[in-house]
Symmetry: C2
């Protein structure tokens, strides 16, 4: 595995691969890799000749009161894990390389970024869309792989690619979970052992909603009320939002109808750790 | 010359050229081509194997009260002129192809877009940066050629390319002028014959500033006052702005100092037609 930190070297390396007719897949990450990331790398490998993973804790997608400084970092461990999963090139730029002091440019996506995560994290998707566009121009991929765990991010990136005409195929892969159902996330390491046990309530509440829908419940307020009841039965848990919305436009449903492509998503604070999860359903 | 209107066909054609090792230059235009545009095409031709000119009156860079609807259009004439100057591919998309109804994404560049033209045309550079980024992703160029006549646009595009890491070399070519000094512009066709005569005052005022500086004048307020006096001596003319600023940051100078890279720029209404011009000087 080759490790590159300079933007120009990454671009020249991508050019060389393309001139040889090789296809490139990129897996953008913020590092502190877990099995969810490694699954993205393996899917990238199945779909392209050259897999580039990127490792960059992107400051512009964190709000001023968020966990940018304490976000977990372990580059040596990430290098070993990325290589073991079949990464060909690991791109690890510095903050200065990505955002020099005279940096001025941001990508804004309207409507779909002002709901759900965007409501609680107002500049999050501006930062995420901007860094992803930069990483696309730096790694020049044919394919980019993202995880379904960040459901709204996947929708925002698809819109970015479509609107700005990036000639890149987006693959979104299923959420990887621990054995007890908790969605894998670098932020899970913040949890105390009590919190870790209670954190399973996110996925349990999604499964509860699915069971109720399977049994005929169509009222979204009823579903959200049952999910809330279950979540708040855990002493460490408080709900940021629970949403039952169109999986394409993110507009909230009030009653589900047959055929609706539905995203049930939620953000819950377990102690001081903010976790998200979601499931996709066709009614 | 090949004419392409579909984005996917343009991308496949660019891919094919790149796989053959050919270099691509793009010349983005809003059509109604004049000798200024054709000079850009010829310079593109000297610097690349394949020259793509684009022809698209971009709605997102016009304000609600501006001249989008009456902006001059003559595609048949443009096709002949583009071909005569050596264009290999003319990309002429429809409005729907560029901005489908569910379009949501804009590129915002801070600071340098809020002065000069940006002050009078608040969403202009957001629209211009967005369409240029789209055209870059559609035509996949190694080189892009812009005219110095739109001085601030050239600075904004350089910032866009640098910040979002587009791997594209930007060439900015000198302003082409009519024999009497008027900068070539598609908007000159709006002028009545009296206005056309008086419109030479833009370049005359820039030349006056240059002479005064050559003779030792260093006060920007004095220079602007002399330019204003000359311009307002023409009955059809009114000044939007006159600026003497850093050619890189666009920050206004109050007194010129030796070595300053200086952009003297102005926007003047001649009757109801808004014209711009500029010169670059090193003090």
């Amino acid at each position: 595995m080759k490790i590159i930190s300079a933007i120009t070297e990454m671009q020249r390396t991508a050019d060389e691969a393309r001139l040889l007719g090789k296809s490139i897949a990129v897996v953008p990450t913020m590092g502190y890799l877990h099995d969810g990331h490694l699954a993205l790398v393996r899917i990238a490998k199945q779909n392209a000749d050259v897999v580039i993973a990127t490792l960059f804790v992107n400051p512009t997608q964190f709000g001023p009161t968020e966990d940018f400084n304490k976000y977990p970092r372990d580059v040596e461990r990430d290098i070993k894990l990325a290589e073991s999963a079949g990464t060909d090139i690991l791109f690890v730029p510095s903050r200065e390389e990505m955002y020099p002091t005279d940096y001025l440019t941001y990508i804004v996506i309207e409507k779909i970024t002002s709901v759900l995560e965007g409501k609680f994290r107002p500049t999050h998707f501006r930062g995420a869309a901007t860094v992803v566009a930069k990483l696309f121009n730096i790694t020049k991929p044919h394919i980019a792989v993202f995880g379904q765990k960040d459901a709204q991010q996947a929708i925002v990136i698809r819109q970015l690619v479509k609107d700005l005409n990036f000639d890149i195929k987006i693959i979104v892969t299923p959420t990887m979970r621990e054995q007890d159902g908790l969605a894998m996330s670098s932020r899970n390491m913040y949890l105390s052992s009590t919190e870790r046990k209670e954190s399973t309530v996110l996925y349990q509440s999604l499964q509860l909603a699915k069971r109720l829908i399977d049994n005929g419940e169509r009222s979204c307020s009823k579903l959200i009320s049952e999910m809330t009841k279950l979540i708040t039965s855990k002493s460490s848990a408080s709900v940021d939002y629970i949403s039952i919305a169109s999986a394409s436009t993110l507009q909230e449903f009030s009653n589900l109808e047959t055929g609706d492509n539905t995203l049930i998503s939620l953000a819950v604070r377990i102690g001081s750790t903010r976790l998200i999860d979601n499931i996709l359903l066709t009614i």
